[in-house]
Symmetry: C2
Protein backbone atom coordinates (compact mmCIF):
# COMPACT_ATOMS: atom_id res chain seq x y z
CA UNK A 1 0.00 0.00 0.00
CA UNK A 2 1.53 3.24 -1.14
CA UNK A 3 1.42 6.42 0.80
CA UNK A 4 -0.40 9.43 -0.56
CA UNK A 5 0.48 13.01 0.23
CA UNK A 6 -2.47 15.28 0.77
CA UNK A 7 -0.23 18.26 0.36
CA UNK A 8 3.04 18.53 -1.50
CA UNK A 9 4.64 20.33 1.38
CA UNK A 10 4.26 17.32 3.63
CA UNK A 11 7.23 15.81 1.84
CA UNK A 12 10.16 16.47 4.13
CA UNK A 13 12.66 16.12 1.33
CA UNK A 14 10.88 18.85 -0.54
CA UNK A 15 10.94 21.08 2.52
CA UNK A 16 14.69 20.72 2.69
CA UNK A 17 15.21 21.17 -1.02
CA UNK A 18 13.08 24.29 -1.09
CA UNK A 19 15.30 25.84 1.55
CA UNK A 20 18.46 25.32 -0.46
CA UNK A 21 17.11 25.50 -3.99
CA UNK A 22 17.98 28.82 -5.49
CA UNK A 23 20.37 29.56 -8.26
CA UNK A 24 23.17 30.68 -5.94
CA UNK A 25 22.38 29.07 -2.62
CA UNK A 26 24.56 26.00 -2.99
CA UNK A 27 27.50 28.20 -3.83
CA UNK A 28 26.74 30.55 -0.96
CA UNK A 29 26.68 27.52 1.27
CA UNK A 30 29.97 26.38 -0.08
CA UNK A 31 31.64 29.68 0.68
CA UNK A 32 30.07 30.15 4.10
CA UNK A 33 31.22 26.73 5.19
CA UNK A 34 34.72 28.21 5.32
CA UNK A 35 33.55 30.66 7.96
CA UNK A 36 32.14 34.17 8.22
CA UNK A 37 32.54 36.36 5.18
CA UNK A 38 31.81 39.98 4.30
CA UNK A 39 29.15 40.77 1.77
CA UNK A 40 31.41 42.28 -0.85
CA UNK A 41 33.96 39.55 -0.38
CA UNK A 42 31.27 36.97 -1.04
CA UNK A 43 30.02 38.98 -3.98
CA UNK A 44 33.43 39.02 -5.57
CA UNK A 45 33.87 35.31 -4.98
CA UNK A 46 30.74 34.62 -7.02
CA UNK A 47 31.07 36.19 -10.45
CA UNK A 48 28.07 37.07 -12.54
CA UNK A 49 25.54 37.53 -9.80
CA UNK A 50 23.96 40.91 -9.18
CA UNK A 51 24.09 42.33 -5.68
CA UNK A 52 20.32 42.44 -5.62
CA UNK A 53 19.95 38.75 -6.29
CA UNK A 54 22.76 37.78 -3.96
CA UNK A 55 21.08 39.75 -1.21
CA UNK A 56 17.76 38.09 -1.95
CA UNK A 57 19.27 34.66 -1.61
CA UNK A 58 21.02 35.63 1.61
CA UNK A 59 17.79 37.04 3.02
CA UNK A 60 15.98 33.80 2.28
CA UNK A 61 18.66 31.73 3.93
CA UNK A 62 18.56 34.13 6.85
CA UNK A 63 14.79 33.91 7.17
CA UNK A 64 15.09 30.14 7.05
CA UNK A 65 17.44 30.32 10.00
CA UNK A 66 20.34 28.80 8.11
CA UNK A 67 22.47 31.93 7.89
CA UNK A 68 23.13 34.68 10.38
CA UNK A 69 23.79 38.28 9.48
CA UNK A 70 26.05 40.34 11.71
CA UNK A 71 26.45 44.11 11.53
CA UNK A 72 29.73 45.45 12.85
CA UNK A 73 29.51 49.10 13.79
CA UNK A 74 32.41 50.35 11.77
CA UNK A 75 32.95 52.85 9.08
CA UNK A 76 32.95 51.93 6.29
CA UNK A 77 30.03 49.59 6.95
CA UNK A 78 30.92 45.98 7.63
CA UNK A 79 28.40 43.16 7.49
CA UNK A 80 29.33 39.51 7.70
CA UNK A 81 27.37 36.38 6.99
CA UNK A 82 27.88 32.99 8.54
CA UNK A 83 26.14 29.66 8.92
CA UNK A 84 23.97 29.05 11.96
CA UNK A 85 24.13 25.69 13.75
CA UNK A 86 21.08 24.66 11.72
CA UNK A 87 22.86 25.60 8.54
CA UNK A 88 26.06 23.91 9.60
CA UNK A 89 24.13 20.71 10.30
CA UNK A 90 23.28 20.62 6.64
CA UNK A 91 26.88 20.80 5.52
CA UNK A 92 27.78 17.10 5.80
CA UNK A 93 24.67 16.16 3.86
CA UNK A 94 25.46 18.61 1.10
CA UNK A 95 28.94 17.20 1.07
CA UNK A 96 27.56 13.76 0.32
CA UNK A 97 25.45 15.21 -2.45
CA UNK A 98 28.65 16.69 -3.74
CA UNK A 99 30.40 13.34 -3.80
CA UNK A 100 27.44 11.77 -5.53
CA UNK A 101 27.43 14.51 -8.17
CA UNK A 102 31.12 14.07 -8.90
CA UNK A 103 30.57 10.40 -9.56
CA UNK A 104 27.41 11.22 -11.46
CA UNK A 105 29.17 13.44 -13.98
CA UNK A 106 31.71 10.70 -14.52
CA UNK A 107 28.94 8.19 -15.15
CA UNK A 108 30.29 5.80 -12.59
CA UNK A 109 27.75 5.93 -9.81
CA UNK A 110 27.73 2.62 -8.05
CA UNK A 111 27.10 2.13 -4.34
CA UNK A 112 26.90 5.21 -2.18
Amino acid sequence: MRHTYRDVEQCATKVALDLISGKWKPIIFFHLSSGAIRFTELWRAIPRVSKKVLLEQLRQLENAGLVERTVHNNFPPEVTYQLTPKGAALAPILHRLDQWAMMYVQGVVQIS
Copy 2:
Protein backbone atom coordinates in the same frame (compact mmCIF):
# COMPACT_ATOMS: atom_id res chain seq x y z
CA MET B 1 42.42 31.89 0.27
CA ARG B 2 38.90 31.27 -0.91
CA HIS B 3 38.02 29.41 -4.03
CA THR B 4 36.26 31.19 -6.87
CA TYR B 5 33.93 29.51 -9.34
CA ARG B 6 34.31 30.72 -12.88
CA ASP B 7 31.00 29.14 -13.76
CA VAL B 8 28.09 28.41 -11.49
CA GLU B 9 27.71 24.95 -12.88
CA GLN B 10 31.10 23.93 -11.60
CA CYS B 11 29.54 23.62 -8.17
CA ALA B 12 28.87 19.92 -7.79
CA THR B 13 26.21 20.47 -5.18
CA LYS B 14 24.34 22.64 -7.62
CA VAL B 15 24.60 19.98 -10.28
CA ALA B 16 22.98 17.49 -7.94
CA LEU B 17 20.33 19.89 -6.74
CA ASP B 18 19.40 20.85 -10.26
CA LEU B 19 18.75 17.23 -11.06
CA ILE B 20 16.31 16.78 -8.22
CA SER B 21 14.91 20.28 -7.92
CA GLY B 22 11.51 20.41 -9.44
CA LYS B 23 8.21 20.86 -7.77
CA TRP B 24 7.31 17.17 -7.82
CA LYS B 25 10.63 15.39 -8.16
CA PRO B 26 11.22 14.69 -4.48
CA ILE B 27 7.78 13.13 -4.25
CA ILE B 28 8.31 11.15 -7.42
CA PHE B 29 11.53 9.93 -5.90
CA PHE B 30 9.75 8.98 -2.75
CA HIS B 31 7.19 6.90 -4.59
CA LEU B 32 9.63 5.25 -6.95
CA SER B 33 11.81 4.16 -4.08
CA SER B 34 9.08 1.63 -3.31
CA GLY B 35 9.65 0.05 -6.71
CA ALA B 36 8.31 0.30 -10.24
CA ILE B 37 4.98 2.03 -10.67
CA ARG B 38 2.56 2.68 -13.52
CA PHE B 39 2.04 6.17 -14.75
CA THR B 40 -1.57 6.50 -13.75
CA GLU B 41 -0.93 4.88 -10.42
CA LEU B 42 1.76 7.45 -9.74
CA TRP B 43 -0.49 10.20 -10.97
CA ARG B 44 -3.22 9.21 -8.56
CA ALA B 45 -0.75 8.98 -5.70
CA ILE B 46 0.19 12.62 -6.25
CA PRO B 47 -2.91 14.77 -6.11
CA ARG B 48 -3.07 18.16 -7.73
CA VAL B 49 -0.49 17.66 -10.43
CA SER B 50 -1.45 17.77 -14.06
CA LYS B 51 -0.45 14.86 -16.24
CA LYS B 52 1.53 17.20 -18.44
CA VAL B 53 3.70 18.42 -15.61
CA LEU B 54 4.12 14.98 -14.11
CA LEU B 55 5.29 13.73 -17.48
CA GLU B 56 7.72 16.62 -17.81
CA GLN B 57 9.27 15.87 -14.47
CA LEU B 58 9.54 12.18 -15.32
CA ARG B 59 11.15 13.00 -18.66
CA GLN B 60 13.74 15.16 -16.96
CA LEU B 61 14.58 12.46 -14.46
CA GLU B 62 14.74 10.01 -17.31
CA ASN B 63 17.06 12.21 -19.36
CA ALA B 64 19.22 12.62 -16.29
CA GLY B 65 19.51 8.85 -16.10
CA LEU B 66 17.90 8.64 -12.70
CA VAL B 67 14.65 7.04 -13.81
CA GLU B 68 13.92 4.36 -16.36
CA ARG B 69 10.77 4.14 -18.43
CA THR B 70 9.53 0.74 -19.50
CA VAL B 71 6.81 0.11 -22.08
CA HIS B 72 4.97 -3.18 -21.71
CA ASN B 73 3.30 -4.27 -24.91
CA ASN B 74 -0.15 -4.81 -23.55
CA PHE B 75 -3.55 -3.49 -24.23
CA PRO B 76 -4.52 -1.25 -22.61
CA PRO B 77 -1.12 0.45 -22.71
CA GLU B 78 1.10 -0.09 -19.68
CA VAL B 79 4.13 2.03 -18.90
CA THR B 80 6.08 1.77 -15.68
CA TYR B 81 8.72 3.98 -14.16
CA GLN B 82 11.48 2.92 -11.81
CA LEU B 83 14.74 4.20 -10.39
CA THR B 84 17.96 3.37 -12.16
CA PRO B 85 21.04 2.39 -10.11
CA LYS B 86 22.16 6.00 -10.36
CA GLY B 87 18.86 7.16 -9.01
CA ALA B 88 18.84 4.55 -6.30
CA ALA B 89 22.29 5.67 -5.19
CA LEU B 90 20.74 9.00 -4.37
CA ALA B 91 18.12 7.52 -2.07
CA PRO B 92 20.19 7.28 1.11
CA ILE B 93 21.32 10.87 0.71
CA LEU B 94 17.78 12.08 0.24
CA HIS B 95 16.86 10.09 3.30
CA ARG B 96 19.36 12.05 5.35
CA LEU B 97 17.97 15.27 3.97
CA ASP B 98 14.62 13.99 5.10
CA GLN B 99 15.81 13.42 8.63
CA TRP B 100 17.39 16.84 8.72
CA ALA B 101 14.17 18.45 7.51
CA MET B 102 12.10 16.72 10.17
CA MET B 103 14.36 18.09 12.85
CA TYR B 104 14.42 21.42 11.09
CA VAL B 105 10.67 21.88 11.22
CA GLN B 106 10.77 21.07 14.90
CA GLY B 107 13.43 23.69 15.45
CA VAL B 108 15.69 21.24 17.21
CA VAL B 109 18.51 20.73 14.76
CA GLN B 110 21.66 19.96 16.67
CA ILE B 111 24.40 17.63 15.50
CA SER B 112 23.79 15.68 12.33
